[in-house]
Symmetry: C2
Subunit: 82 residues, 2 copies
């Protein structure tokens, strides 16, 4: 299964608990698109959030994020994972 | 120990083996700044590279990357790691 790193910019004004809730919203529906979010990391000062996933396609990742209410700004297929 | 996600842009024209060699160059000297790079991921088409580390500071991460020949464009302290 391909891996993806997606990036959200501008998620400022959110607490760590808000980020956890947003990630939980992804996890709750991820199986409907065959996506597995492995990790999420946030810099709550800059508002940048990074999500690592195994997914059938970038589109599948975006559909989950959109339905959860936070569209990704970048979705990178990972040709290298070390 | 704080965690950081750093991002390199514009690392285009590199093969997966080139990325592995660049990461190895970081690993070879990381202990001199107390940094532990946990993972590195690359989108070799867009030239974006992401590195996850435990480190005493963003400056320590950058010093390792600079000495290894690939300065990071962004270094994000991670207030959330899920």
């Amino acid at each position: 299964m391909p891996k993806f790193m997606d990036v959200h910019h501008g998620m400022t004004g959110l607490s760590p608990d808000d980020i956890k809730a947003a990630h939980q919203a992804d996890l709750a529906i991820q199986s409907e698109e065959g996506v597995t979010f492995e990790h999420a990391w946030a810099d709550t000062d800059s508002g940048d959030v990074f999500c690592l996933s195994d997914a059938p396609s970038a589109g599948a990742v975006q559909r989950i994020h959109e339905r959860a209410g936070h569209r990704a700004d970048e979705i990178h297929p990972l040709s290298v994972s070390l």
